[in-house]
């Protein structure tokens, strides 16, 4: 190591080391840049969830294929549910209706969507009658399991069919207790947790739309994440 012949190699080694330092610095710089880039996380707007095929396989309650972007609207407010649910799903639809009324002119920017997690029992006609009873502005989407699963992955939502209980007529569906505000560009600026009181849930929806519009990040109360 410490021999006289080591001088030249050492100098050559120094140049090599410099080159390595430069490469390492470059890599490190890139890594820092990547690390500092906004990433999808709990409170930050999530990365693009739409590609054109986000709603491929879905039909709306008027029988039209669902397109990636809503016509003339800026957001979709996605609610999972099913019409054989007499309790929580109607409550949520009441909250959505109240929110539409309380949003004023902002309501024109939001298309509320009731996505059925029970396509087996929810036909397009059944869905249309159901959501129309709450507000004609509420749409319903029906897709097969493949379409639903794709949407679930993108929006970080879940659903499953509960096992049939002995003596029970029919079955229950369980699904994420979360409403997702989805912007047309595929960003999810807000997630709204289900709250039992429809009036309070409506307020939560209204404030989520206001936050999304102002671009302000709320403290995180209204924009709660899907629990893992």
């Amino acid at each position: 190591m410490g021999t006289s012949t080591g001088e030249v190699p050492q100098r050559r080694g120094g140049a090599r080391a410099l080159r390595w330092v430069a490469i390492i610095a470059l890599v490190a710089g890139l890594a820092v840049a990547v690390a500092l880039r906004p990433v999808p996380s709990g409170s930050a707007p999530q990365a693009a969830t739409t590609s054109p095929d986000l709603f491929t396989g879905f039909i709306d309650d008027l029988g039209r294929p669902v397109r990636g972007q809503t016509a003339g609207k800026k957001y979709r407010l996605i609610e999972f549910g099913y019409t054989h649910c007499p309790d929580v799903c109607p409550l949520t639809l009441v909250a959505v209706r109240t929110a539409l009324r309380n949003l004023g002119p902002l309501a024109d920017r939001v298309e509320p969507v009731f996505v059925t997690v029970d396509p087996e029992r929810d036909s397009v006609e059944v869905l249309h009658r159901h959501v129309s009873a709450f507000d004609p502005r509420i749409r319903a989407y029906r897709g097969d399991q493949k379409a639903l699963d794709r949407l679930c992955t993108r929006l970080q939502l879940r659903y499953w069919r509960e096992p049939d209980a002995p003596g029970s007529n029919g079955y229950g569906m369980s699904h994420s207790a979360t409403l997702v505000l989805l912007r047309n560009d595929g960003i999810v600026p807000e997630r709204i947790h289900y709250i039992e009181d429809p009036a309070v849930l409506a307020e939560s929806i209204v404030s989520a739309v206001h936050s999304a519009e102002s671009g302000a990040r709320p403290g995180g109360d209204s924009a709660t994440r899907e629990a893992r």
Binding site: T83, H84, C85, P86, D87, V88, P90, L91, V94, R97, T98, E125, V126, R129, H130, S132, A133, F134, R158, E162, A165, P166, G167, S168, N169, G170, G172, M173, S174, H175, S176, A177, T178, H193, Y194, E196, P198, A199, E226, A227, R228
Partner: protein, 161 residues
């Protein structure tokens, strides 16, 4: 008829006593059994057109010993089930319950978002303002019937919850 004439002929007074006695016994048998259960604040939610299911809510106030709610029935639905809605790990879960314990000296409340009485296969939609008959079946207290007012979609829970 001949026997009645004979009876009447023998003693009108004793026949009258017998009738009074029969009336009393019949009335006693028809009256609900003495129970410490009270049903309060019953209501059901109006259903959207075409709906085949509905939810009813109420409070069971138990002033006495523990009992068990085993089920219910109504003329407006083929089947009635007790259901729970619970949020668990971000999931809204819907599950039927075969029966529900009514602990001694406690109140069990069916409330939106927690417990509901699910009416399945409705004979017709439920309209706001009408009343539907609901009979709850208890293990010890037997059947208890209530008239359940139907409330509009926007009305929500009755006051005083």
């Amino acid at each position: 008829m001949p026997s009645l004439y004979r009876l009447k002929g023998r003693s009108a007074a004793s026949a009258q006593t017998l009738i009074w006695w029969l009336t009393f016994v019949t009335a006693a048998a028809a009256a609900p059994p003495a129970t410490s259960l009270r049903i309060e604040q019953a209501w059901a939610r109006e259903t959207p057109p075409g709906a085949t299911v509905a939810a009813a809510y109420l409070r069971i106030v138990n002033g006495g010993a523990a009992d068990v709610l085993r089920g219910a029935s109504t003329p407006v639905a083929k089947q009635v089930e007790l259901h729970s809605s619970t949020v668990e790990n971000g999931m809204m879960r819907m599950r039927p319950m075969p029966e529900l314990a009514i602990p001694a000296r406690q109140t069990v409340a069916f409330k939106p978002g927690t417990l509901h009485i699910m009416l399945i296969d409705l004979a017709r939609p439920l309209k706001a303002g009408e009343r539907v008959h609901l009979t709850l079946m208890f293990r010890d207290a037997g059947p208890i019937s209530v008239d359940v007012p139907v409330r509009g979609l926007d009305e929500g829970e009755p006051d005083g919850h």
